[in-house]
Symmetry: C2
Subunit: 190 residues, 2 copies
């Protein structure tokens, strides 16, 4: 997705060898026109599939999923990260290990919003080591719903999570894949 | 907004005398068609004003703000609740007292995304005691930006926060106002 690559090169900031900050348009400020282009791109990638619900995780996935859902004409459900929130007690859970924070946490979705007959497309902002997507897949599996695939805006391909998920048979579509962030330089996968 | 009232009566759940759960369409699952109707309604309410940015707070405001921003053709910035997130160090802060959790926390927005010349419309899901909107107003004031007003989807009018803000001169627009939740009954303000 050329528009997104340009945006990343112009406004992204590399921190160390692993972090790409895109607060300018995706993670703190939201460029809503760009989100619409992202939504259309996901529709192109998954347009051949039947999708009845989009599943994402708080916080950064929410805006992307909501705008994208307009192109699929389906509802979104977002997994909550904490147990403290006033969720229904009946939830499906997925485990996510955060390498950044070195701790395991849970994603939770109320059972009401993932009945067995749903055809679920997972949408998220980043795919690095694949932990967040894996946690969302666990939720879909617990719900015995059908997993259509996972669409991510930016894959940090060098961290290997995307290919691990693909090897398990998941249809993972990244709108942009990054081969390396070495020496402050953003190199896209060819 | 009649559509929203119908939705609340049909799918909202009253807990105690103060809590209205709308997880079915606004706070956990997102009804994206309804969010579009909400966005159009905010545009009607604030269409006469110049707005250059929409400000909201994570988590529940994000989807509403992103969909609404399409009708204003402006970017969104969402305030972060925790300090742990990898935000720029240069932030504007607002304080929010949570009556539910009985603790004070901070909203933070990077200074990059609120320059002085912005004309800011605040959007949020609920307005109860007004603490969240007050915290967002503090951020706009710190940035010396212009505060256009605040649009909320559901005002719990009986908790008084909306009128406190209106008395201070803020243009607060609620799409639906609730007069009482007594005895499990949802009564709208006439």
């Amino acid at each position: 997705m050329e528009l997104l690559k340009e945006k990343i090169l112009k406004e992204g900031r590399v921190i160390g060898e692993h972090i790409l900050k895109v607060d300018h348009f995706l993670n703190h400020q939201l460029d809503v026109s760009l989100l619409n282009a992202i939504g259309r791109a996901f529709k192109e990638r998954f347009g051949g599939e039947e999708v009845t619900k989009i599943l994402t995780a708080e916080v950064s996935g929410i805006a992307i999923a909501a705008i994208t859902a307009q192109y699929f004409d389906v509802p979104v459900v977002f997994a909550r990260k904490t147990s403290s929130f006033n969720l229904d007690k009946e939830t499906y859970e997925g485990s996510v290990y955060s390498y950044t924070k070195q701790q395991l946490y849970k994603f939770r979705v109320s059972r009401h919003y993932l009945p067995e007959n749903e055809k679920v497309l997972i949408i998220d902002d980043f795919l690095a080591n694949g932990e967040a997507i894996k946690g969302l897949c666990e939720i879909v599996a617990s719900a015995r719903a059908t997993l259509v695939g996972a669409g991510v805006v930016i894959e940090k391909h060098f961290q290997g999570g995307g290919n691990k998920l693909r090897e398990k048979g998941l249809n993972v579509q990244a709108l942009v894949s990054i081969a390396s962030l070495t020496k402050g330089q953003i190199t896209f996968l060819q």
